[in-house]
């Protein structure tokens, strides 16, 4: 099956710094793929390059058969890509409900998806009128994922969903991402190897701005040497 998203050899600069020096990622439809690698390897920049927030200088990015490299971020997102950024980027001045409704691409998106969202994150229903400032870290993370679910996205880019969360909440997050992956494809960045191995079917290792290895998660879990080499601790 041809991949839903195919990134081929992208090079991205931030200012004069050459951050990505050749990253290639293929995400087959209906799967969870995880980007692994050390801090500063270029995982977050890869997600931002796909969305055009840090547009790559060269390379190709194909989404659902269409070249999206060079489009503006809002046009890329409107093709059906949801983004859950690092540190969540919840809008503090907006209530939880507004944080969800702002993500609508067509009128009534939120109403259509309300049931799904509240079944994944029942807490949010209770908090719907609270301003974004008043949420705890875990609630913010749920809201950030929920926000990406409001329009019917075909691909979700999720950056560090477990970062800074209590173990109980991480469990809840894993369950939610697994459930939503039944209908959307997911490209994940995850530092926590345990979380990554529970969620992902495929992996891509990014090292110093290059994608160096990819394959099935099931194989990587066995391969202690690779884990040690690229990710530090097992």
């Amino acid at each position: 099956m041809s991949p839903l998203l195919e990134v081929r050899d992208i090079h991205t600069f931030i200012g004069q710094f050459h951050i990505l020096e050749g990253v290639s990622v293929a995400v087959p439809p209906g799967t969870i793929t995880v980007l692994l690698g050390r801090n500063g390897a270029g995982k977050t920049t890869t997600l931002k390059s796909i969305l055009g927030l840090t547009p790559p200088r060269s390379g190709q990015i194909c989404f659902a058969g269409q070249e999206i490299h060079g489009l503006r971020p809002y046009d890329i997102a409107a093709l059906g890509i949801g983004f859950v950024p690092e540190h969540r980027a919840i809008f503090r001045d907006l209530s939880v409900g507004e944080n969800l409704r702002i993500a609508e691409r067509r009128r009534g998106d939120f109403a259509r998806r309300e049931e799904l969202i509240f079944s994944l994150f029942p807490d949010l229903k209770r908090l719907i009128h609270l301003p974004g400032t008043h949420l705890s870290g875990g609630q913010q993370q749920m809201l950030a994922v929920a926000r990406a679910l409001v329009p019917e996205n075909r691909l979700l880019l999720i950056d560090e969903p477990s970062e800074g969360l209590a173990p109980v909440i991480i469990e809840q997050m894993i369950a939610a991402i697994r459930e939503l992956s039944a209908e959307t494809t997911v490209l994940l960045v995850e530092q926590n190897f345990l979380v990554a191995s529970q969620l992902a079917e495929r992996y891509v290792i990014v090292e110093e701005g290059r994608s160096v290895q990819s394959g099935l998660m099931a194989d990587l879990v066995q391969d202690k040497a690779t884990i040690q080499r690229y990710l530090g601790a097992a």
Binding site: L53, P73, P85, A89, F91, L94, I102
Partner: protein, 518 residues
């Protein structure tokens, strides 16, 4: 309960500062009589309302786009002059409409040109050369043909035709429609065609010099529809020029004044959108350049106004609705004031000017509520509030933030222009009026917390009140402890006091009264 306690501890300094301000404010009642005090407060609110109209746009633009629009004061000034023209010289206003609409018709074809350039000539030095040639030819053609359009005679240097004279005639009630201007040597057909061709070439040149094209977006048909509609409007207005002018002159000054407010606001909105699209938008990657370009725009604005309206300061007579002095004036009650259209009303022993101290404040309040509703109750407002915090994330949600930027810039400039026309009848017109109001608005912004909309409103009111109380105390003196004589602040202390207030507030609350920690 715990919520209240957290709120109190978190906002301790802020609450103390607000309480101190309230205390100072109340203590001012000690020194003067009720009527005097009320007048001073209303004057302060009036200055605050005008400052707010400028500060509101400034703070929204700064918050959303990180652009400090140094030309915002000049937009206020230009608004005042545009409003004055519609009010005092409607003939010039009507004469202007036709050429402006023709030029607009040419310029809206811009997206068509971008698509054409993209298809015929990829970005290259040859394309740049062609684009520059089109730009220069268009500008030259416009320069030659626009002069042929009949414009009511203006000459700031000749007494009989200067703005001051017309202001005087209007305030005496003896303003007659001046003789209609004749078409220039070119004749209507040539002038129309030349102006249209010139603006089309101008658009072509600018499109050729601007960045990449988006073929799918640029192939839409609306530019042609808009161009045809604008042309039809231009011709229609040209046909009815004389009756329209006569009708406008026959309107009461009140109606013409409200028309002037609307036209100034509209002109501000269009001017703001043009500035954002052509000058601010290409420079989001270079904030310093944006700052410098707004400074440049402010200088150009002042010089353009000087060239058109002349150097001297002049006044804008108050509309009849607020200028009556006949039977029963000054009015004893608000209803009597409305009935007699009195210029002043006696309330609580104070003589309150209807226009300055009631109407301006009402308009300020209306705008405050309207913008608040826009921000809190509409999707655009939601996007603006979200964008103030994180415009990149808004973009990542699939929302075209640039379009919202243009809208907010246009709206902000529109509000400033409204403020200019609103302030003109009470404070007069001068080319320096923009600079002084910008300074007040910037101080108000700093006090309120830079990007906070309620902060801008509160800051503007505080600055206005402080300024007026200082002026008042300059007359009557203020009793201070340990001083034998009442202290009379000298006039230079009036502007200094607002800066001092800002310094004190920022020392205690570095992010201003309503500022957010990042």
């Amino acid at each position: 309960m715990s919520d209240v306690r957290t709120f109190l501890t978190r906002n301790r300094t802020r609450l103390i500062v607000l309480a101190l301000i309230a205390l100072l404010f109340l203590s001012s009642t000690q020194d003067m009589e009720g009527g005097e005090w009320l007048i001073t407060v209303l004057r302060g609110l009036s200055v605050g309302a005008v400052t707010f109209l400028v500060a509101a746009g400034l703070s929204l633009i700064l918050g959303l786009m990180d652009v400090l629009n140094l030309a915002h004061g000049e937009m206020y000034m230009i608004g005042a002059y545009v409003g004055w023209t519609v009010y005092v010289r409607p003939d010039t206003f009507v004469d202007m409409l036709t050429p402006v609409l023709i030029v607009a018709a040419g310029l809206v074809l811009w997206p068509f040109w971008r698509a054409l350039w993209a298809r015929l000539a990829p970005a290259s030095s040859r394309r740049r050369l062609l684009a520059w040639a089109a730009l220069l030819a268009g500008a030259l053609l416009l320069f030659l043909t626009l002069r042929a359009f009949p414009l009511a005679k203006w000459d700031p240097e000749v007494y009989a035709q200067s703005p001051i004279t017309f202001s005087l005639l209007l305030s005496q009630g003896t303003l007659q429609p001046p003789a209609a201007a004749e078409f220039g040597a070119l004749g209507p057909a040539l002038a129309f065609g030349g102006a249209l061709l010139g603006s089309v070439l101008l658009a072509a040149g600018m499109a050729g010099l601007s960045g990449r094209a988006d073929a799918a977006r640029d192939r839409r048909r609306w530019p042609f529809v808009a161009a045809v509609l604008l042309l039809v409007a231009a011709l229609a207005i040209f046909m009815v020029n004389t009756p329209l002018t006569e009708w406008l002159f026959s309107l009461s000054t009140s109606w013409r004044f409200f028309l002037a407010l609307a036209v100034a606001t509209g002109a501000g909105v269009i001017l703001g959108a043009l500035i954002e699209v052509t000058m601010i938008r290409p420079l989001y990657a270079r904030p310093i350049y944006q700052l410098m370009i707004t400074l440049g725009v402010s200088f150009i604005g002042i010089e353009v106004v000087r060239a058109v309206w002349g150097r001297p300061e002049f006044t804008m007579p108050k509309p009849a609705l607020f200028n009556g002095s006949g039977d029963g004036c000054p009015a004893e009650s608000l209803s009597a004031m409305l009935e007699g259209q009195c210029s002043t009303v006696l309330l609580f022993g104070g003589r309150i000017r209807t226009y300055n101290e009631i109407f301006i404040i009402l308009v300020g309040l209306t705008v405050l509520v309207a913008v608040w509703l826009l921000l809190q109750r509409t999707r655009i407002g939601m996007i603006i509030r979200a964008g103030v915090q994180d415009s990149e994330m808004v973009e990542a949600l699939g929302i075209n933030v640039r379009r919202v930027f243009t809208l907010v810039f246009a709206l902000g400039v529109g509000l400033a222009a409204l403020g200019g026309t609103l302030a003109a009848p009470s404070f007069g017109l001068s080319t320096a009026m923009g600079t002084s109001v910008l300074l007040l608005a910037l101080i108000a912004l700093a006090i309120g917390g830079l990007t906070s909309f309620p902060g801008a409103a509160a800051g503007a009111v505080l600055v206005g009140l402080l300024q007026q109380f200082m002026i008042k105390y300059g007359q009557i003196g203020i009793n201070l402890p340990f001083l034998a004589e009442p202290f009379k602040p000298s006039p230079p202390l009036v502007p200094a006091s607002t800066v001092l207030l800002m310094v004190v507030i920022l020392l205690v609350l570095p992010r201003g009264l309503f500022g957010r920690s990042e």
